[in-house]
């Protein structure tokens, strides 16, 4: 092999996926925990941040910071441009039709609450039905319960089977002309299941319901296309997609958002205020009262750039390999049970070890440098389905490797040995 051929090989490899180059971009990954190299398997709770996102946030504060949409001076213009450029980046990223459909919120939880409050209060009445799946995060259950308390609507639960797949027969049976809202997660944070949102949306629309999708666990793992999914609302958080905390996106169809009353009142969301009457601003500002998380939004825009440059399809392929590898390692281990074995699954492994509580697992793994989530994952109905109080969850991001998974299983064996004493 001559040197030209060799370099071609290398560049082909890097085109597929250079995970080491990606890891090098994430400063927080390179540290020791209890004397062992950090193995970060908790990106499902919150991902680490690449250097470009951190730098952009710092640069913004050092050079461009002012309030947005407020002043005529140069810094205000720079801040506003950076803030609005991020919105356009997100629009392209999720293929929304218009910038007006991209609302800045604090995160997924606020996105769902906004829809429940604004759309829900204006459109639901006594006897209406909301279909909520059994695998939802509490953030996609409680706002609907609160809406039911206010309006007299009620929730119908869409169950999943033991593999973690939604019961589509039950879904067909639950849909009636009384169904006003379908609230469903794109990817389950506790099980990893990827739900058939496009198909479910089509069926929900056939009975006149609107579809609200919790996309928090989907957005870092797959290419999103709002126009293709055709759901009415879709919401996600920046911090799970390698961006800063404190900022998230609510996508909504323009016609629906236009017809909805404001969520919070204050600055930015108004056109004109007198004590007799206030007229509200146009989209998207109508839903963005108060000074927003500007630096975080700038950082989100850079996270979108980063994900786009690497390519969600490449990330998805890499993570699928990690999931397959982790699943096969888990299958070889006695006393380990996997929760969530759906055919279409995102890259997380929720599991239990016979006779060992997840919190004990989490503490011992931490001493091996392995960070996992333990607990009910804010999805207690999922825990109730399996009759457990908690599970251990290892979630894999774009920067994880097969050797991270090896470290996890070394740690798990250590846990089992410790408890076998």
């Amino acid at each position: 092999m001559n040197s030209t051929e060799a370099s071609v090989c290398v560049s082909d490899l890097s085109k597929t996926y250079d995970v080491e180059a990606i890891r090098a971009e994430f400063p927080a990954l390179h540290q020791d925990i209890h004397g062992k190299p950090l193995v970060y398997l908790d990106s499902g709770a919150s991902s680490q941040k690449p250097r470009s996102v951190i730098d952009a946030t710092v640069y913004y504060y050092e050079h461009d910071h002012s309030n947005v949409h407020r002043g005529v001076h140069t810094l205000s213009q720079r801040a506003t441009d950076a803030f609005e450029n991020a919105r356009e980046k997100v629009r392209v990223f999720i293929n929304a039709k218009s910038d007006k459909e991209v609302i800045y919120v604090r995160g997924t939880t606020e996105g769902i609450n906004l829809v429940a409050r604004s759309y829900g209060d204006a459109n639901l009445k006594q006897g209406d039905e909301i279909i909520v799946s059994e695998m939802e995060h509490h953030a996609n259950i409680v706002p609907w319960q609160m809406l039911c308390e206010r309006t007299g609507a009620f929730i119908k639960v869409l169950h999943f089977d033991d593999s973690g797949e939604l019961d589509m027969q039950e879904f067909d049976d639950l849909l009636t002309e009384k169904t006003k809202i379908l609230a469903v997660t794109h990817v389950s944070n506790a099980l990893g299941t990827v739900n058939p949102i496009k198909d479910m949306t089509r069926k929900a629309h056939a009975v006149g319901a609107v579809v609200v999708v919790d996309g928090a666990q989907a957005v870092p793992h797959m290419q999103l296309d709002m126009q293709d999914l055709d759901c009415d609302f879709y919401t996600f958080s920046s911090h799970k997609m390698y961006g800063p905390t404190g900022i998230g996106i609510l996508y909504g169809k323009e016609a629906l958002l236009n017809a909805m009353p404001p969520y919070e009142g204050g600055g930015e969301m108004i056109k004109k205020v007198t004590f007799e009457e206030t007229t509200y601003n146009d989209l998207p500002n109508k839903f963005e009262a108060g000074t927003p998380s500007i630096a975080q939004t700038v950082g989100l825009g850079v996270a979108v750039d980063y994900l786009t440059a690497i390519g969600l399809d490449n990330i998805a392929a890499h993570e699928q390999d990690l999931l397959d590898y982790a699943t096969s390692r888990a299958a070889d281990l006695d006393g380990l049970r996997i929760y969530g074995t759906a055919k279409h699954k995102a890259s997380l492994l929720s599991f239990g070890l016979d006779g060992i509580h997840p919190h004990d697992i989490g503490t011992i793994l931490d001493f091996e440098g392995v960070a996992v989530r333990t607990g009910h994952h804010c999805a207690q109905p999922v825990m109730q389905h399996y009759g457990v109080a908690a599970t251990t969850r290892a979630s894999f991001g774009m920067y994880n490797t097969r050797s991270d998974i090896d470290a996890l299983f070394v740690g798990i064996e250590k846990v089992q040995q410790t408890f076998a004493r």
């Binding site: 509580h357 997840p358 004990d360 009910h376 109080a389 908690a390 408890f419 004493r421």
Partner: protein, 150 residues
């Protein structure tokens, strides 16, 4: 690593494997349920109090090794103690596991509880150890309702 050994001592595993005073106490006259919303752990305490003395006590529920061992050791220590003594143990135990204040070594069964002292190096796990104590406290105060660690 020594912190981890300090936390998971052999005695802890022993109580976790075979918890003492485990199961419902049929003639209990004080009960309370404890719940840790962080992890979903639940413990129920059954206490029989006669003339201010804890004549019998048991627990059930599900929890991690730390909370199970803590509940088990607690029931051993408090059986036969007065309500006032139980309160003193509660305060002393809190001091032990949080590192705030002094544990009262003059209490005769304090030695038994000290095996849980290692938890003070694990702030995220302190609530595992204190959940049964908060729960029995609620039972003794006759607040026969659910308590949480929050």
């Amino acid at each position: 690593m020594s912190e981890l050994r300090e936390l998971y001592q052999e005695v802890i595993f022993d109580h976790n494997r075979s918890p003492r005073n485990f199961g419902k106490l049929e003639d209990a006259n004080r009960t309370a349920e404890g719940y840790n919303p962080v992890c979903g752990d639940q413990v129920k305490l059954y206490v029989r109090v006669e003339n201010g003395v804890i004549t019998d006590v048991s627990f059930d529920g599900q929890g991690c090794a730390i909370s199970t061992a803590s509940a088990s050791i607690m029931t051993e220590a408090l059986k036969g103690k007065t309500e006032q003594e139980a309160e003193n143990y509660f305060k002393s135990f809190q001091a032990l596991v949080t590192g705030e204040g002094e544990a009262d070594d003059s209490l005769e069964d304090m030695m038994k509880l000290e095996v849980l002292g290692g938890v003070r190096e694990f702030p995220m796990r302190v609530k595992c150890a204190t959940l049964p104590w908060h729960t029995i406290n609620a039972a003794l105060e006759n607040k026969d309702d659910s308590v949480t660690t929050e």
